[in-house]
């Protein structure tokens, strides 16, 4: 049997600010620098969503990537695109929107909604030069190769 990994790439943009409200302004300024600007800054994000599974014998699909695109749009893109990640996004409430925290929160929104196949990994570009990847925290998950 052949496990194949299929990926859909989507784009969105958002404003955000890195800030830990439990800490002083001086701590936040020192730790986050320009990313702590109280007037916000923003990014064009690129999100890659990878689903693992065996191709269906009839369709030849692990998952129809049009279906996957719609799931990602309904669960993630419509809620974050052209938004303020600190103020506008329910699933990020109380979360400092670093790329690391953001990608884990996106995973939690998507992991139960993918079918057929199982969510294997996410890659989230904040810029062309900075990105994060996440594979979930389920230790029983089958390994890649």
């Amino acid at each position: 049997m052949a496990t194949v990994y299929v990926t859909r790439v989507v784009h969105f943009n958002a404003a955000h600010r890195l800030h830990c409200p439990d800490k002083s302004d001086a701590w936040n300024q020192r730790v986050f620098g320009r990313c702590n600007n109280p007037n916000w800054h923003g990014h064009n994000y690129t999100l890659e969503v990878t689903v693992a599974g065996e191709p269906d014998p009839q369709t030849g699909y692990v998952i129809d990537l049009g279906v996957l695109k719609r799931i990602i749009h309904d669960r993630v893109v419509t809620r974050v695109d052209h938004r303020n990640l600190n103020l506008d996004v329910e699933f990020l409430a109380g979360i400092n929107p670093t790329t690391e925290n953001f990608i884990v929160a996106i995973w939690d929104e998507l992991v139960g909604a993918i079918s057929p196949g199982r969510l294997y990994s996410l890659r989230l570009y904040e810029t062309e030069r900075n990105y994060a990847e996440y594979f979930g925290n389920d230790r029983s998950q089958p390994r890649r190769a």
Copy 2:
């Protein structure tokens, strides 16, 4: 000892149609939508071929990427470039050319021809936003890390 993974990227283009001949036209139209167009559509494909191995002490190569390029061209590119994947490609005969089925078929063409080193993975872009990856189905294969 150090296992290094080296990758060669190649490009080709082809026409295809997603269609399951065992099913009705209505089923095919519903499942594959525009990809079922009986007059075909097409893509510029990008294929990434990754070979794993230890660098040779004398050459410093896992595999000479010029040699790898020639293997990929002889085994894959010359047979699919500027072709119709449903009609012209012997190694796809009877296979519905989804990205998933196509990448598994390419693996089978390449896996026995790579030397030195062993074929580790393939990545196949159908568009910039849709791609598949395959690592073979040999469970005894050493894991990545």
Copy 3:
């Protein structure tokens, strides 16, 4: 007054075949080589549409790029995406779909539909390494700089 040029980039894919029906099969094979495959091949095309004009004092737009996107989709993308350029596209009937002929035909579909602003140029990528540009054939058109 400040003329600004704004561009919207769109993607589509299609099958085609280069073939001149007035000529013999031998001539077509010699001139077009692999691009003459009677079973078709295909591409992911990228189209860049540039509109020139002065930004509106109230909106700050030459043209709302969301509006421009819809015009391009209605006039071009919905008619060529996942199609066979030789068989399925009315505005290409009787035209050998080289990139050159295709870009001129797209211009003719778009030039009367752009408002506000005026269509300034098109760029059409057939592959990452081959593209065409067209600026219309109206000699009275204001020059770029």
Copy 4:
């Protein structure tokens, strides 16, 4: 004599909101849609700055691109990177930061500071699919070709 055009590409990111304060909220919402979000959104911008001139016989440079980079950083990048374009940028005060208005304002900051050579054009990407170009409004400027 040979006029050569040299270009330096820079990146920055910022938050903004499209909004015309002379108009009602309903007008702004209708015209700018999601781009009018009162909580802001943001982008990774890419700016290409093109300088025209004849290569210096001794250096072979139109302008040292390291010098050009520093001019762009001092005049533009340090003032807009990780900023809110509506609130934080003096040279955008009172300007609705569409890509069109933004590129004209950047031109005005740069045009007097380029030496040797003369500023020929700017290209500003708001996303990979949307960009603006500007060549200044000086009709006496030599034409491109």
Copy 5:
């Protein structure tokens, strides 16, 4: 009649050093900095060659891009790829290989060899962030738009 501009993109890599032999080592070090390293450095260059003309009524081509590719390879790529631009390239003898000087020298190698169509412009990337463009120095050349 419709003038269309077609472009072929090619890649090559080379070592070079920026150095003006008429000047002192101190002058060269001050002007060219790290680019003056006497042990050389190098780049992956990308060259875009644009040819203008009217599509041939029978072929639909301004110029067959496969033919253009061969001209560029014979005249330029085979002479500069995997070479030292200061030591190995006859058409650069005595020329300080800045991007500006290099692009003018490439123009001179190509301009007489393009047929059908006429060489319209070159774009030469030294890195993703630095590039030069050249349109020749023939003032009688028809303007772009």
Copy 6:
């Protein structure tokens, strides 16, 4: 607990030559072809450095990517950028600078300097079409998923 992988992408350029001094010139010419040019050639390299760890509860960072950028610059970029890999780089002394040997040498420079988090992988592009990846040779290292 959530392991996240964060990546910083950096660029540099260098000259090099593939050559095994223990072997004859004929052997080197046969094995390395154009890459054996005694006058050198060169590349724009792209290096991706991936660090694995759990996001810090206060900062939300696995590692501050600005800190990671400085580590990479101090340990690698300042020593290889605009250099000759065979002549100028102490940590490559006696090493034939294939991409494979180069990536292992970079790993050894970085692996002890990364904190917080642990170095997980490197990817090194020599051209857009050729790259290597390395995950270290520590078999006790936790697996990816």
